[in-house]
Subunit: 371 residues, 2 copies
């Protein structure tokens, strides 16, 4: 099968680029002496996950219990569910653990810690630390840290601490990125030191975001890095200087369905349903709209972006306002769109059509969604 | 089963509200003497579609051939695929028609018309008319109209004209909305008149958008109205004055997983994966963020919105900046979020959990996605 045989819109995955992305992060983390616990929320595909795991059993990070269930069904057992646990989900956690899944959960509040401890099931827990004020977690020096640890001691299994430097997405240059990586490391190693000083062993010290994983220059005291977007990369990562356009491994294949010469638009069948509504580059130096357009072979057309979209219509225009040569884009022309955010765009699709630096489709890999 | 038994996040559909929404539009269109060809891109569910169709065979409007396939498999045969046809999709169109589906397609370009005509299969076609410069279509008085009609005469079956007043989403008051409905009607009836004057019968004259469908005061010359969002309504429709908050029939059930008192935030397990990234109210007088929060019973908490989200984290805050009473939202509290855009939010879910003005789940209706 060839790209030309695929119905549009379709999600294309370039395996060559994906493998290069995985090798690159693995080499970097090897040089820092730290393991990778890949975040599979980006791919939701066992085939993709296998390129990132140290062994068929893991380790992986998940964002939903559905991911834990699906990957456990494929033989993965070393799983961190990295979203603060809702007490109502503890039954499902215990069920997975009873079937042999070494599933760990995360807490950042004494009430959640109490709910986990009250299961009296030795559920392994990481305490979430806030390193940048961007999302969840407690500050490394918050007195709640030890209160949570003590609560967990009565019925749960405190394994360590974790943090996520979401603030890396706001950094504007490599220096800020390196500082953010160090801030992330520091937050979680400080918390680990407090816990150890109070008699809690804290074997796991986990950090993670694709930008900080790549920009970290030393990870002393950290035992594992979580990252997900790195496997595919996207325009947000390009804008942050984490990678180049030639590293973005997924794209959405679309077809030209209309010309609005009076508006300077090309219309395609790739709307927000196929691209997602993610506008992650809106505040970057280069705003990529809803995605950057490439020809069918994947060569970027750097002046052509998806400027807007309806559910199943993409609206393309020249970002500099120069006229489009419509003769170069007859109705039926196939184009590929690089996504702002790999997690969001991939989530709109049920499968990856795999290529390897050519127009041959060498495989079709399913992906799942839902909770 | 009760709402309290559902895992979160989950999509909730209030059947009572949905039925009221359907009755309301149907009564209005009955009073104008025009039929409804419901757009099922919003629901992607046969159970929902059945509440909107005049008969088990339709009519419906679809945005993808996958929708045509799925609804045809459920016995629906009168289907308009309302996105400009890509020539590469004509094989699938012919296959559906050969199996008994009366599938119509849309064109707005001579090249697309030629591709349809060259099938020599009598494929029924509507010519798309542009009424507001917002998306696809040719202007009603564009000379291309008759060229397309003549091209179609040699192998296709020209059935009429259609338009979509996407510009209604930019209207700011009822007067503008009524004008837009009239502008939509006028564009398509003018085009029909030109075609008829040239000898093309043009039996179908189709308009559609939820706002114009509701604000239209006369639809002389129009034979059918297409609308989809009306079945569920959403915060965009509330902001446009099409309905009230009490009419929004879908919501996302979530659980409180954290408190960030230092930031004035509540964290939930309802992130953008469950809500979508749609920001359709961003330019409204009332910006609803990523959604307006309700208690578990569906009662709006008008000061509490989802201000931001990560993939599986929702960040809630008071829009007026006043302090949150965290005691009222302990970890594990269930909340419901009204969506900006029903199509986008529903698309993130695989099923509807149906309620009827109470906490009892009276049914689970599947929905599909993909192309």
């Amino acid at each position: 099968m060839q790209l030309a045989d695929l119905a549009t819109p379709s999600l294309i995955l370039d395996l060559q680029r994906m493998e290069t992305n995985v090798s690159r992060l693995r080499s970097h983390l090897d040089s820092l002496g730290v393991g990778l616990r890949a975040h599979v929320k980006t791919c939701k595909s066992i085939e993709v996950a296998r390129t990132m795991m140290a062994s068929p059993r893991g380790p992986i990070t998940v964002s939903t219990l559905r991911e834990a269930e699906e990957f456990f069904a494929q033989g993965v057992t070393d799983i961190l569910y990295a979203v603060g646990i809702a007490p109502g989900k503890l039954g499902a956690v215990q069920s997975l653990r009873a079937r042999g899944c070494d599933l760990m959960v995360v807490v950042d509040h004494p009430e959640a810690a109490r709910a986990v401890a009250q299961c009296r099931a030795g559920i392994p827990v990481l305490i979430e630390i806030d390193c940048d004020g961007q999302r969840a977690g407690i500050k490394p020096h918050d007195s709640a840290l030890l209160r949570i640890a003590e609560t967990l001691a009565h019925g749960a299994d405190l394994r360590g601490v974790m943090t996520h430097a979401g603030g890396s997405y706001l950094c504007r240059n490599p220096n800020e990125m390196r500082s953010m990586a160090e801030q992330e490391r520091r937050a979680v190693t400080d918390a680990a030191a407090s816990l150890r000083a109070a008699g809690f062993p804290t074997p796991i010290v986990s950090v993670g975001s694709t930008p900080t994983a790549h920009f970290a220059t030393q990870l002393g005291g950290v035992t594992e890095v979580r990252a997900g977007v790195f496997v595919f990369m996207d325009l947000v990562m390009v804008g942050l200087g984490v990678c180049g356009l030639e590293d973005v491994a997924i794209s959405v294949l679309t077809t030209v369905i209309g010309h609005r010469q009076d508006r300077g638009w090309i219309l395609t069948d790739g709307g927000w349903m196929a691209l997602s509504r993610d506008r992650g580059t809106a505040h970057h130096e280069i705003d990529q709209g809803l995605g950057l357009v490439c020809d069918e072979s994947g060569r970027p057309l750097p002046n052509l972006i998806v400027s807007d979209a309806n559910q199943e219509h993409g609206i393309l225009l020249h970002r500099d306002g120069t006229p489009i040569d419509y003769g170069a884009f007859p109705i039926g022309t196939r184009l590929r769109v690089l996504p702002n955010h790999a997690c969001a765009t991939a989530a709109q699709h049920g499968r990856y059509h795999c290529v390897r630096n050519s127009a041959s489709v060498v495989g079709t890999w399913p992906r799942f969604g839902g909770w």
